[in-house]
Amino acid sequence: MTRAKLEEALLPPIVALLIAILVGDILILSFGQSPAAVYELLISGTWGNAYGYGQVLYKTTVLTFTGLSVAMALRAGLFNIGAESQLAAGGFAAALLGLILPAGLPALLVLPLYIVVAGMAGAVVGGIPGALKAKFGAHEVITTIMLNFIVLALLNYLISTRFNVEDTLHTAEIRSGALSRLSDYIPSFHGSAANTVLLLALVIVALAWLFLFRTRCGFELRAVGLQPHAAEYGGIDVGGMWWRAMAISGGIAGIGGLNYVLGYKHYYEEGFGAGAGFLGIAVALVGRSHPVGVVMAAVLFATLSQGGLAVNALVPKQMVDVLQAVVIISMATAVPAVHRALLAGKRA
């Protein structure tokens, strides 16, 4: 990587973080607290103890999936705003599979089945907007947003009337395939939700990297994202790539549902995604749509999410919601600004 390329990749996230810290200072001061004390608590409450970083790792897992999902679509030049409902659909499908399977099957044996089912559910929800774009030119941003509402309403209907345990909004526990928590191997993680789906996330990240940068199909996907007309001229079926990329993107988000269903609660619950799909957009953006960058950005946003709970004693935890939004906005604004500034510098 050349120096200019590195600057262009690293400057925007740094600028974004600095702006976020500045806004954070203002919010903290407006609440009459000391920024230093709050930030110290944010770090010590997340990375300062085993429970804290266990929770961060748990949140990192789901954000890695949703971030990678959004990044995969971005690489094809598409915006997937639907990761939230794709994640929920994947989790729901996995929970249903868990209710059908006979009890007592070994987890490793049924895991591939869960991955396929959750991935398929997400791929269907993601693939529809892709196909609508390829076939009718319907803008994927609008259709994925609309599908979020539709799919979440449908799941809400199913969970509140058909598949719930009475008086709750969750299904019964899955009968087999539950994965172990990290605390089973490292006792100091005790109580945190971090689980072995984290390893699955890292495997998928590696596969995504191989796919994007070492396969013909991945190359074509990136070509479509960079310059669809040129790609078409080069003999690539652009429309076909659009729906495939959206299906892959949705599939990755869908598999993310396993983090909750197989790794943590062992059932599907209304609203378990809790905005992870939307934060995936932030993760993909800050991670510059690169699989490795996505993991690092997922750690950052997971730390912020968990950090909000840690600082709640001093300032409202909603502060981190504001900071996350500020990071996205300043990142999105800094990327073209830095690009232009570097370009102008090169010309001068």
Binding site: A138, F149, T161, Q318, M319, I328, I329, T333, P336
Partner: protein, 291 residues
């Protein structure tokens, strides 16, 4: 009688949609994607509650609401007009920002994580239409899209705004200040959606956490389903509101689950965008970065 009660409730539900989608039309016809309507409304609802609580007057509340909407829209403008940031990303983030900011300042000013104290808003007596006509915001809301239609098609600035949304380079070549027109459009859309937010806070006589509850996206759906034409958009708003009213009225009958009625605006929008017959075609330069 039942019909009039139905109509009155439909209008009551439609007013925020009418305001916000009027903002949506102005924004999108100028080439700026209106994913931010939800955020404009939410910030505006909070500011309206704040204004009418501390200013002790509905009028202060309305202006505070407009101010909240415009300020939020100007932030969007700084990012996407001044710095040419991606409109989708910034739009989504502004909605997240509005949720976070209103929650934070709800804690800060009213020490509550759920709602503000009661605000007066407009005092209405009676029910149905009799109550509705006493609310000036209802009148404004019913006129909003008509005014936008007049503005877009009967004023020079409206013509320029449409040109900027269709073909900014061509507009520039005949001397239209593209960026300035977009600034006007974004501020106007923030103010209009802001009125919708103020209406919501007044209607419920308080601000509650995330009280817009997706209404900004229904307004966006109406904007698209109405093909960015003020008249059709108004019909779309009333249609979506009528569906909701019907669902509320028939709740006890349990004919159709509420969730399926909720889906209607979103399903119709997808159908309109993918329409085999008479597909909805957005303004040509919508969302494109203008150098």
């Amino acid at each position: 009688m039942i019909f009039f009660a139905f109509l009155a409730q439909t209008i009551r539900i439609a007013i925020p949609y009418l305001f916000a989608s009027a903002g949506g039309v102005v924004s999108e016809r100028a080439g700026l994607i209106a994913l931010t309507l939800e955020g404009y409304m939410l910030n505006a609802a909070f500011c309206a509650a704040l204004g009418s609580y501390f200013g002790d007057s509905a009028l202060v509340g309305i202006f505070a609401g407009i101010g909240g909407g415009v300020l939020t829209a100007l932030l969007y403008g700084v990012c996407v007009i001044r710095y040419r940031a991606n409109q989708v990303v910034v739009g989504i983030a502004i909605n997240l920002l509005a949720i976070g900011l209103t929650r934070f300042f709800l804690r800060l000013t009213f020490d509550s994580s759920s709602n503000s104290p009661r605000i007066e808003g407009f005092t209405e007596t009676g029910t149905g239409f009799a109550a509705l006509v006493q609310n000036p915001l209802v009148w404004l809301g019913l006129l909003a899209l008509a005014a936008v239609g007049w503005f877009l098609y009967r004023t020079p600035l409206g013509l320029r705004l449409r040109a900027v949304g269709e073909h900014p380079e061509a507009a520039l070549s005949v001397g239209v200040p593209v960026q300035r027109v977009r600034w006007i459009a974004v501020a106007l859309s923030g103010g209009l959606a802001g009125l919708g937010g103020a209406y919501l806070a007044f209607d419920q006589h308080q601000f509650t956490d995330s009280m817009t509850a997706g209404r900004g996206f229904i307004a966006l759906a109406a904007t698209i389903f109405g093909r960015w034409e003020p008249k059709l958009v108004a019909i779309a708003c009333l249609l979506f509101a009528a569906a909701e009213t019907l669902q509320i009225q028939l709740q006890s009958a349990q004919l159709v689950p509420a969730q399926f009625v909720e889906m209607i605006p979103y399903l119709l929008t997808i159908v309109a965008l993918a329409g085999v017959v008479a597909r909805a075609v957005p303004p040509a330069a919508l969302g494109k970065v203008y150098e």
